[in-house]
């Protein structure tokens, strides 16, 4: 079982992702609605995985990911976003995001979550 932190500005998405995470047998240990809150929670909770959105108020997903990465180079980050801008995507990949998926890609999310359990 892995511990997961969810960062998304939409409460709807937080809930949906949370459900998918729990269904895969993992534990949501924190949720945040923006990058700043997410970063603070990461520092505090040190989850095994962060699932985060990119478009958020204030500190966005990319900024938050690089802050998290700076503090913990081993952080595992999974972006879930509808952003299609390749610049943003490549920036996310530079940050070592383990994957990048669309918001309705719940099947892939479950696959990743399943894989996480085996590691």
């Amino acid at each position: 079982m892995a511990t997961v932190l969810i960062i998304d500005d939409s409460s709807f998405m937080r809930k949906r992702i949370g459900n998918a995470v729990r269904q895969a047998g993992h534990k949501v240990i924190g949720t945040a609605k923006d990058g700043a809150e997410g970063f603070d929670l990461y520092t505090e909770l040190r989850p095994d995985l962060v699932i985060m959105d990119i478009t958020m108020r204030g500190i966005d997903g990319i900024q938050a990911a690089s802050m998290i990465r700076e503090q913990d180079p081993d952080a595992r980050i999974l972006f879930m976003s509808l952003v299609t801008d390749p610049e943003v995507i490549s920036r996310a990949q530079e940050l070592g995001a383990i994957d990048f998926l669309g918001k309705n890609d719940s099947e892939k999310l479950s696959r990743i979550m399943d894989g996480l359990g085996k590691q």
Binding site: F12, R16, L82, T84, D85, P86, S90
Partner: protein, 889 residues
């Protein structure tokens, strides 16, 4: 469609509704300040969230529309688009559509209409020059079903944007193959999603080709052919024409964007002061020379500041020529100056056009400004799109402001002013009324309010039903508390009796006394806690009035557009809390009053200007709490109520006699507008006066225990003041006895109580009346109007409760007064609802049930008398004796 549970649908609905609730006020704000990037970002995010959630739920109509609107904001954010009036109108339409869709989804769990039409309009807006092309797309897809068409639209849009990204990547000399691969991957994904198998495999092939080329080191060659092969693959499905022309016409558009902006500012300044340079007279004209010198010196400073050295040199040359002219050394040669002007125009692109346009726009009415700016191509002019509006704005500002005199304006200063002006709203209908710079920024309150909406506190969402249930429990508790208080006093009485009668030895009574004391203390504590609990639960039902007020900015905006008026709306005290139920009851009356204010109160901008008022009318809605009441006022600075018209109407309808009118105070006359049959509107318009008059407004407000008055002053405006109880669920009441039945009179209406005997009652034309302090008050015996209460204890001795409600003043005859207490109103069972006279029921401390009087309905019974009295008084005043007159001593 995926299988979602009920909760998920509910979550989704809440999510979208919340986003829309944030979005709409932000959009209104953005319309006023289109350059505010933080509002723009918020708007973008709202749409993004809706898109995400709708996508998740597989709701393509909403997702597609959100995507289209989001794109508009994104372009505005990137600075490649300026949101004009047309765009805002369209986005507001989208908001309405979202509301329809979400209501649909909440009920049926599916979308029953599509958004293809709006998406199409947005796209048409996106490529103004590509209107024909948009029509083509439409034609093609007409054959397909609506849903497919909409999917195709999204698809085409995504492909186009991906294609654009690809061209951007390829523009770079060291294009990164992995970036290209990412774009191709996206294309592949999109094609797959839409089910375009051929396109999907074509792109897969290109992708494979790319990775092969990278592996074999032939990437450079591959790169050259890439665009063509992608184009070829896409051409079957997507019309790339507009993308192609765009990318060809402005290869490096983005790089020079910032300079372009600065340049536009310079141009605007040039336009402002450089008139003399463009219009060289045919003969020597001293006035012109002076104006020219002035302008050239300003422009030179500005050009210097901008670092446009060539322009600076040209202007210096110009200055020299002028000096020569002034010293009289040389003959005036027009061509010297026109030559210089041409050279300037060569250096400064768009300058010549601008002065040409300027001349045109002076001839044409300003109203056309919008239309013409719409014709301009979006990309080539960047910030110049709204130039005409801009001019109009500047013109007005300098008309309003004496700084138009050349001496007062220093170049840098006026530049700063221009920048500021561009942030000010340019009005939709092209009235271009800008406030003079010294007036305070508009919508200040509104801005802070929406700021509040944008930031979210920690909130828990609770189903209203749960709160209602909790309130019911608290109500039971209140009843229990009352019964314990009653028991305590009974015990006390018992104890005193025992003690006084000395039936028991004092020693034996002492423990009893201690128990009694402890009990009394506990009951007191219980009372306090119950009170707090009750208060707390009531508070949970309370919402800030902003949840009601926030719908008005949009309404005001739409009304203004429809009526061609300009109104600045201020909301005050929006955090004042009010019971949700009260708020619901208040929505319609308030809306009616606001419509009236805009339709009949506030004058047209022209009229206002003629009257020496600011063209923009002021409308202010304010709320504040006073004890158990909330006061809401709606004031406008319009023309005020028409006293003559009201009086005329009142007289002609026979509601009031000329004599009575003479006695009436100004305020009483204003309040005649609430009497049925009197409406100030000369004509029924589309906006207000849809058969519902202010009398209904008053009735509705009185129904919730409130009151409304109006104040007005000719030419200065009208204010409606509403006084509303904080909550409907709990009232303070006076419990009275009528026969064997208990009834509750809302204490807010009780004026006084006194004892009466039958001898003090007389009757006039079938109405019972009593005289008190020279006043004649109708008496309504509750035992008579409500049958089945049982016989009165003593028919000769009873009590009067004098109540006042608006202009109604009457005494209620009751058999006994029980006391004051807070009662929790419980609705009556349905079969009792039809019975007029009762607003509800409550349980008293002793467990018995009391009916709560619906005073407006009860007092209705005395209305006939009041009118009668009015007539009799008049007759008395005229000296006519009808025999009944002696009653009125």
């Amino acid at each position: 469609m995926k299988d979602f549970d009920q909760e998920m649908w509910q979550d989704f609905t809440v999510e979208v509704e919340e986003n829309l609730q944030e979005f709409e006020p932000n959009l209104l704000l953005l319309e006023q300040q289109p350059d505010d990037s933080s509002i723009l970002n918020d708007c973008f995010r709202n749409m993004h969230s809706i898109k995400g959630a709708a996508n998740y739920m597989g709701l393509t109509a909403m997702a597609g529309l959100a995507h289209a609107v989001e794109n508009l904001f994104d372009e505005a954010r990137q600075g490649t688009r300026r949101l004009d009036q047309q765009a805002f109108d369209l986005i507001f339409k989208c908001v309405d559509r979202f509301k329809e869709l979400i209501a649909d989804v909440a009920e049926h769990h599916k979308e029953t209409s599509d958004t293809a039409d709006l998406q199409e309009q947005i796209r048409a807006l996106a490529n103004q020059e590509g209107i024909e092309e948009a029509a083509d797309v439409q034609e093609e897809s007409l054959e397909e079903s609506a849903e497919d068409q909409e999917l195709m639209n999204i698809f085409a849009q995504e492909m186009k944007s991906l294609y654009e990204q690809m061209t951007k990547i390829l523009d770079d000399e060291d294009a990164d193959p992995s970036n290209l691969d990412l774009v191709l991957q996206d294309m592949e994904r999109v094609a797959n999603y839409i089910g375009k198998d051929e396109l999907h495999s074509a792109i897969s092939q290109i992708r494979e080709g790319l990775s092969e080329a990278v592996d074999s080191g032939t990437f450079d060659d591959f790169q050259k052919g890439l665009l063509t092969s992608v184009q070829k693959a896409l051409s079957q499905e997507v019309d790339l024409d507009d993308v192609l022309t765009e990318s060809e016409s402005s290869p490096s558009g983005i790089e020079i964007e910032e300079d372009r902006e600065l340049y536009n500012i310079f141009l605007d300044f040039f336009k402002e002061v450089g008139g003399p340079l463009a219009n060289v007279p045919s003969d020597m004209d001293e006035q012109w020379i002076n104006a020219c010198q002035e302008a050239v010196s300003k422009l030179r400073t500005s050009a210097n500041y901008m670092d446009y050295m060539e322009v600076v040199h040209l202007l210096e040359e110009w200055e020299e020529c002028i000096t020569e002219q002034l010293s009289g050394d040389s003959h005036f040669d027009r061509q010297v100056f026109t030559g210089l002007w041409d050279r300037l125009c060569d250096r400064l692109p768009n300058l010549r056009d601008m002065f040409k346009n300027h001349e045109e726009s002076e001839e044409e009415p300003l109203l056309d400004a919008e239309a013409r700016s719409g014709q301009q191509t979006g990309d080539s002019s960047l910030g110049l799109e709204s130039l005409e509006d801009f001019d109009a704005a500047i013109d007005t500002i300098f008309e309003d402001d004496d700084s138009a005199t050349p001496e007062a304006v220093q170049p840098q200063e006026s530049e700063a002013q221009i920048l500021e002006v561009s942030k000010e709203p340019v009005l939709p209908t092209g009235h271009a009324d800008l406030q003079p710079p010294d007036t305070p920024p508009q919508h200040k309150d509104f801005a802070t309010e929406t700021g509040g909406i944008r930031g979210q506190g920690q909130l828990v969402r609770v189903n209203l039903e749960k709160v209602e249930n909790l309130l019911e429990d608290v109500a039971e508790l209140v009843v229990l508390r009352s019964s314990m208080v009653q028991s305590t006093s009974l015990l006390k009485g018992l104890y005193s009796r025992w003690r006084d009668q000395r039936r028991m030895p004092v020693q034996e009574l002492r423990p009893l006394k201690e128990v009694l004391l402890g009990f009394t203390e506990s009951v007191a504590a219980l009372e306090r806690v119950v009170h707090q609990l009750q208060d707390g639960v009531m508070r949970m039902r309370m919402l800030p009035v902003s949840s009601l007020f926030n719908r008005y900015p949009r309404m005001v905006r739409d009304l203004c557009q429809k009526l061609g008026k300009e109104v600045e709306l201020t909301l005050k005290g929006t955090d004042t809390a009010l019971d949700k139920q009260v708020m619901e009851q208040l929505a319609d009356p308030l809306q009616h009053i606001i419509r009236n204010a805009i339709d009949h109160g506030i004058e047209t901008p022209d009229y206002r200007t003629r009257k020496g008022k600011r063209p923009k009318g002021l409308l202010s809605i304010a709320a504040s709490q006073e004890g158990n009441f909330v006061t809401i006022s709606v004031s406008d600075d319009g023309k005020g109520l028409d006293r003559d018209k009201i009086v005329k109407k009142a007289l002609s309808s026979g509601l009031i006699s000329p004599e009575a009118l003479r006695e009436m105070s100004e305020e009483q006359i204003w309040n005649l507008i609430f009497v049925p049959g009197i409406s100030t509107a000369g004509s029924v318009s589309d906006i207000s006066g849809r058969g519902v008059g202010l009398d209904v407004v008053k009735k509705n407000i009185e129904k919730i225990g409130g009151a409304v008055v109006v104040r007005s002053s000719k030419g200065e405006g009208t204010t409606f003041i509403l006084r509303i109880p904080l909550t409907l669920a709990i009232i303070k009441g006076l419990t009275v006895k009528v026969g064997r039945q208990s009834m509750v009179v809302p204490i807010s209406a009780v004026y006084e109580t006194f004892r009466l005997s039958s001898s003090e009652v007389s009757s006039v034309e079938g109405y019972e009346i009593i005289s008190k302090r020279q006043e004649t008050i109708p008496l309504i015996r509750l035992g008579k109007i409500f049958r089945g209460t049982g016989a009165p204890a003593d028919p000769d001795k009873f009590f009067a409760v004098r109540v006042r409600l608006g202009e109604l003043d009457a005494c209620l005859g009751v058999d006994g007064l029980i006391g004051q207490q807070e009662v929790v109103i419980k609705p009556l069972s349905e079969y009792l609802m039809d019975q007029p006279g009762f607003a509800g029921a409550t349980i008293l401390g002793d467990g018995s049930i009391a009916l709560i009087l619906d005073l407006p309905a009860v007092l209705e019974k005395s209305k006939g008398f009041i009118r009668k009295r009015q007539q009799l008084l008049e007759q008395a005043a005229l000296g006519l004796d009808h025999g009944d007159a002696p009653v009125f001593h």
